[in-house]
């Protein structure tokens, strides 16, 4: 008993010690973990990102025209079942469909479900090939052309023995909405990450210089930053997106869109970084480093940057949903990534007709994913911000 008590006391002491010697990152992590909403959002976000990353493995069909199901256009979602009036089956199944057009159907294609025709779900089936590393750059000059394909697989999580399975239904050309949604999440994610990264590099350079050197350089850079911040973002984005030639490949358009996002997003970040630098610059440890004869570059890299890395990451996390939203809005009105490319915006473009709401409600499934995705990112960002702000504990 005494031994027990002793140990408890010691661990208490250790806990205290651990608290006072914990690094900034550890403190933020432990505070973040105690925020339930943010944790749930974090898990949802992780799942979505994983779904996006393994989208090829998870989706039975190619999300492009190549993977379309000609016999099942505008088809409703097919949900696998375990039983129906014809009995129970351990292996989930869907029904086969027939597509016909005759006088009876007023000469329109009508898809009918044949409840006798069971199609069983198979797992880890062999399907179309995909590779995780697939670089095909056609750069000027023979020498620079890159064509690398590695980590090629053709296994997919599920499929059916004959015909097709479309969990979220198909769109008007027969493309599988489930496969497209998964890829779209990843496309939007990539676009946002790339945009945030470009914005971050620009902001770090401009905000860092402005905050560290101060003086007239600071005033001038602040003026330019503020001027750019006053221009409304979407119209500016539209003006920049107008440079895109129609005949560019999907990849090129994707990179340009992400770059524009970065170029639009940097001013807000630059201001935050400038404030961080400005408040840290006058601290004693910087003065000490300067007196020791450290160069500006050394001080910025080794002392200033580490002092607010965690805050910067959080700032980036907060900026991220705005980027994704901007891309989606632009793709939605047809100025960003357009239909053959699967992005959340280009998928949502399909829902903008009254016809869809009446007849093809499953087109709205990507919209739900978009909302979930954005909400998850926002909650995680907010949770991180609260966790990084020591004053928040007092308030709660």
């Amino acid at each position: 008993m005494g031994f027990f008590f002793n140990k408890n006391k010691k661990s208490d002491q250790q806990l205290k010690e651990a608290y006072f010697t914990a690094s900034q990152v550890e403190l933020i992590r432990s505070r973040f973990k105690s925020n339930k909403t943010a944790m749930v959002a974090g898990w949802i976000l992780t799942i979505l990102i994983l779904m996006g990353f393994f989208s090829e493995f998870l989706s039975p069909y190619q999300p492009t025209m190549a993977g379309r199901d000609k016999k099942y256009e505008n088809g409703p979602p097919q949900i696998p079942k375990f039983w129906d009036e014809n009995g129970f089956s351990f292996r989930p199944f869907i029904y086969g469909t027939k597509r016909e057009r005759s006088i009876k159907t007023n000469f329109r294609w009508v898809v009918t479900v044949d409840r006798e025709d069971r199609r069983y779900l198979r797992f880890f089936v062999d399907g179309w090939e995909y590779s995780y590393i697939d670089l095909e750059w056609d750069l000027p000059g023979e020498f620079f052309d890159v064509d690398v394909q590695a980590l090629t697989f053709s296994t997919h999580l599920f499929g059916v023995d004959k015909g097709g399975i479309h969990l979220f239904g198909t769109d008007k050309s027969g493309k599988d909405i489930y496969s497209r949604t998964l890829l779209a999440i990843f496309t939007s994610l990539k676009c946002g990450v790339l945009g945030v990264f470009i914005a971050f590099v620009l902001a770090l350079i401009i905000g860092g210089i402005s905050g560290y050197y101060g003086g007239w350089l600071d005033s001038f850079l602040q003026m330019v930053t503020d001027a750019i911040r006053t221009v409304p973002q979407v119209p500016l984005f539209m003006a920049l997106a107008a440079f895109l030639p129609q005949e560019w490949s999907a990849e090129a358009v994707f990179f340009v869109i992400a770059t524009i996002l970065g170029f639009i997003g940097w001013p807000t970040l630059a201001r935050r970084i400038r404030t961080h630098v400005l408040s840290e610059r006058s601290q004693d440890y910087i003065l000490a480093a300067q007196l020791c004869g450290a160069s500006s570059g050394h001080i910025i890299r080794r002392h200033l940057l580490p002092s607010f890395t965690s805050y910067i990451i959080i700032d980036l996390m907060i900026t991220f949903p705005y980027m994704v939203r901007l891309e989606t809005a632009l793709s939605f009105i047809g100025l960003g990534l357009i239909d053959p490319v699967s992005s959340l915006g280009s998928l949502m473009q399909n829902v903008s007709k009254a016809d869809v709401l009446l007849n093809y409600q499953w087109y709205f499934i990507p919209v739900l994913f978009f909302i979930t995705f954005i909400l998850a990112v926002v909650f995680v960002g907010d949770g991180l911000r609260d966790a990084a702000d020591p004053n928040m504990i007092k308030k709660k």
């Binding site: 503020d226 006053t230 009105i333 926002v378």
Partner: protein
């Protein structure tokens, strides 16, 4: 008083400098779009069956002043915009831009400012209430709505409303005027017709701004409400609405006024998208036309400059209001 005038002057100069920087950037962007006006005009003539040569294009360039160096053209354009308010002609539509935009600007600005007002009328009381009340249901609802404002962008919101009204009421809510008033001169009847249709786009435009303003007001109130001066006031026996409005609300109003310019910025960002979905024929959709479908850089530049100028003007006004409202600044300036 002199100090105050000085303050206004400095702010005015700063606003003008901001506008100059923006218009220079906009002009540079217009220049970057491939093809210039002369080629457009000539290309148009080409479709009319005329044969054209390189000399024709060069002559046209000389006529339009496009052969002059870049900086001179930039300053001429900026000078025209600033001192005369002239944006020149649009090459694609071959129309005067000022003529083209005149009443569309007022409609767009009116709607945006209406949306701004709406968002503040909603956000300020609700934000204050949710910060003060300890009612968890109200609090969580407000939080949820303000998050939804981000996750359900106004283009989706607009789309949902459009789809539902079309499908379930059979009446399309699109457009700003009914048929009989579209080309009529402004009158009371036309104004009422406008109001009966404009409330929906105003609501949708205000939606995102409301969500953001709500969050701002709530956070500011939460910051202020635990401060010592509020406790001191409470100790003196002031309570309820009296306490709120006289102490913490007044304090947190400053940053809120400061954020008006950025909220307007946000609304302008929503404007083109919402305009496209609701087929409003005002400025926003004109911008989309100008950029997406015809590459009309002159028109796009003009719209960008006008939108930015509005924001700069609002920022200038809010700065002055803020200076007048805040006793610390006021006393420093007015002596």
């Amino acid at each position: 008083m002199i100090k105050f005038l000085q303050f206004i002057m400095i702010r005015a100069v700063m606003s003008i400098v901001t506008l100059l920087i923006v218009s220079f950037i906009v002009f540079s962007m217009m220049e970057l779009v491939p093809g210039n006006c002369a080629e457009r005009y000539i290309a148009f003539k080409n479709t009319q069956g005329q044969n054209i040569t390189i000399e024709d294009i060069q002559a046209e360039e000389r006529r339009l002043g496009l052969d002059k160096p870049y900086l001179i053209r930039a300053f001429t354009w900026m000078g025209n915009v600033f001192f005369q308010g002239k944006f020149g002609d649009s090459c694609i539509l071959r129309l005067n831009i000022n003529h083209l935009l005149s009443d569309k600007i007022w409609l767009s600005l009116g709607m945006s400012i209406g949306a701004l007002l709406l968002s503040y009328v909603l956000a300020v009381p609700i934000g204050i209430y949710s910060a003060v009340s300890r009612n968890p249901i109200a609090n969580n609802t407000v939080r949820f709505i303000s998050y939804l404002g981000l996750a359900l962008p106004s283009f989706l919101f607009a789309l949902m409303i459009m789809l539902f009204t079309t499908v379930y009421f059979g009446e399309s809510m699109s457009g700003l005027f009914s048929k009989e008033y579209r080309d009529a001169a402004w009158s009371y009847a036309k104004f009422m017709d406008f109001l009966s249709r404009a409330w929906l786009p105003i609501l949708i435009l205000g939606w995102a701004a409301t969500a953001f303003a709500l969050q701002t007001v709530r956070a500011l109130m939460l910051d202020e409400i635990d401060k010592l001066y509020v406790t001191a006031a409470r100790a003196r026996g002031i309570f309820g609405r009296n306490l709120l409005w006289r102490y913490p609300a007044r304090h947190s109003l400053g940053p809120v006024i400061n954020s008006i310019g950025f909220d307007l910025n946000r609304i302008f960002s929503e404007l083109p998208v919402v305009a496209l979905i609701m087929t409003l024929t005002e400025m926003g959709s004109l911008l989309i036309d100008a950029l997406a479908f015809s590459n009309d850089q002159q028109l796009a530049g003009a719209i960008l400059v006008i939108l930015t100028a509005t924001i700069v003007l609002i920022n200038f006004i809010t700065d002055i209001i803020l200076a007048l409202m805040d006793p610390r600044v006021r006393q420093g300036l007015l002596g």
